[in-house]
């Protein structure tokens, strides 16, 4: 029987193990209600999976004792820690890296580190998520966002006033730009979307810097516009929908879509064929 002989191929167990680890990871992230991290993780798994899929023909299982031992230790640690259904964000961001690293060591040894360096780079970048988040949170982003929103109001001709992180517009409507609205989350998401883009497509160093800067800019300004809309909507029924409800997700859709447009027009679009010279010969 064919499926019996397939069970003897390590490749299929490997595929199942990768899928199971990715599924465990996404399930655990879903349990902590962190939609941003869930979206970013799903995107990163999709990217790593795509790269692995392209290599599926030449997956060779070859490793030596040190690799097998290292891989088994890493995978056992990851699985044992996952058994307690952890809610630590730091662990959840390290899980894909340790999981994939363990798998690579187990099946391909130290040679695999080179062969699968792109996949490993993707999950390694995801492991930086808590670090970047902490860096962003240590910046006075709330004040900057309040300033930017104040400037945007000025452009629209609204007489707004700012005191620290408090914004007031005519009609006595005041909002406080506190940490969760400071744009740290939207900038974080954009940084990781752009980092993934940089990992998947090779660009020149200058283009890389520009890409990251554009992503940060988009994340910051979509959030500043969101703060303006929130200020106008405060004390109305629709406030909750746009603030914490599903309406709030539309802003990350907008910033990611704008980034996609930027990436398309700046780098990915195929240049038009130059007109053929001497067609009439």
């Amino acid at each position: 029987m064919e499926w019996m002989s397939r069970l003897r191929e390590p490749k299929f167990w490997l595929l199942g193990l990768i899928a199971a680890i990715a599924a465990i990871h996404l399930t655990l992230v879903d349990r902590i209600y962190n939609e941003d991290l869930f979206a970013t993780s799903a995107l990163f798994w999709l990217a790593a999976g795509t790269l692995l899929w392209e290599k599926r023909k030449d997956v060779e299982v070859e490793s030596h004792l040190p690799g097998v031992i290292g891989g088994v230790i890493l995978l056992s640690l990851v699985l044992l820690r996952s058994l307690t259904l952890p809610d630590s964000k730091l662990f959840l961001c390290l899980l894909p890296l340790f999981g994939l690293l363990g798998l690579v060591l187990l099946t391909a040894g130290s040679k695999g580190l080179r062969k699968y360096r792109h996949e490993l780079a993707i999950v390694a970048v995801l492991a930086l998520y808590p670090l970047v988040e902490r860096l962003l949170r240590s910046l006075p982003l709330s004040t900057w966002t309040a300033k930017a929103a104040n400037t945007l109001f000025w452009y629209t001709g609204t007489n707004s006033q700012r005191a620290g992180v408090f914004l007031t517009i005519p009609g006595g409507r005041t909002v406080e730009v506190y940490e969760a609205c400071s744009g740290a989350q939207s900038i974080l998401q954009m940084i990781f979307v752009s980092a993934l883009f940089l990992l998947m497509f090779s660009l020149k160093p200058v283009q890389r810097v520009i890409t990251i800067l554009v992503a940060i800019f988009l994340g910051f300004f979509t959030n500043a516009i969101r703060v303006c809309i929130m200020t106008v909507l405060v004390n109305t029924d629709s406030f909750e929908f746009w603030h914490t409800g599903h309406g709030s997700l539309i802003f990350s859709v907008i910033s990611v879509a704008l980034f996609g447009l930027f990436a398309w027009f700046a780098f990915l679009r195929e240049p038009k064929q130059p007109p053929m010279v001497g067609d009439n010969q």
Partner: protein, 236 residues
């Protein structure tokens, strides 16, 4: 090459065992019901502050549980209020556990009777004690800060985060976290303290009494922070 051969034959069972284990964990992760969103943040939020903190020269009169100020969660206990007496002076200390954020100005506005007056919060820093804030309303004078489990007290989110780097990035914290004894690597618990004394009815005419009230708060703050740091609820 017999060792390589035996390694090859061992790899398949290893992969199979790992796959079955991960499939079992996946089933557990999916089947276990999710915690409700507001309980997830930390068990620390529901910490019961049963102890009776002693303040030198002050006598503890009574303690009362503090209720959530949001109308739809009014029966939820969110901390404890302690009343002290020294002669005719009374001192109130409200402690509310917070998690993940150290923005005291926001706590004041959404979770205390201070509300809009939180805009008048005046930051103070004292080396060895930490950052705290002082503010006055018509009736009371307040002193407020986050008591961190380690390090100086903090007033803003930035100061709180800075403390996490300087206090929590220690090799000794790695192993308990890897083993799952501690659920998060950074200890983001903030025991938010709000101390207050009553003010005389005409503060501008009784400046010496306002001064005295401020001195009272500051002198009680130092031992209060020390006591709670030494008796901080245990980390989970």
């Amino acid at each position: 090459m017999t060792s390589a051969k035996s390694l090859d034959s061992a790899r398949l069972p290893i992969l199979a065992v790992l796959f079955l284990a991960s499939a079992a964990i996946l089933v557990k992760a999916i089947a276990t019901p999710k915690l409700p969103k507001d309980r997830l943040a930390s068990p620390f939020l529901a910490a019961e502050l049963h102890q009776s903190p002693a303040l030198p020269d002050w006598q503890l009169i009574r303690t009362t549980p503090l209720k959530n100020l949001e109308p739809d969660k009014a029966d939820q206990v969110v901390g404890r209020s302690y009343e002290y007496r020294q002669g005719s002076q009374t001192l109130r200390v409200d402690l509310r556990p917070q998690y993940g954020d150290g923005g005291v100005a926001r706590f004041l506005r959404i979770a205390s009777e201070v509300k809009e007056n939180s805009a008048n919060l005046k930051p103070i820093y004292k080396p060895g004690v930490g950052h705290y804030g002082v503010l006055a309303t018509d009736k009371r004078l307040y002193l407020t800060a986050c008591i961190n489990s380690r390090g100086e007290s903090t007033l803003t989110s930035q100061q709180f985060q800075k403390n996490r780097y300087s206090q929590d990035l220690q090799p000794g914290r790695i192993l308990p976290w890897v083993l799952g004894q501690k659920s998060s690597f950074f200890d983001e618990r903030c025991l938010w303290a709000l101390m207050s004394v009553p003010l005389p009815s005409n503060p501008e005419r009784n400046l010496d009494r306002v001064q005295a009230a401020y001195a009272t708060l500051e002198s009680a703050w130092v031992p209060l922070q020390q006591w709670w740091q030494a008796n901080f609820p245990t980390e989970e």
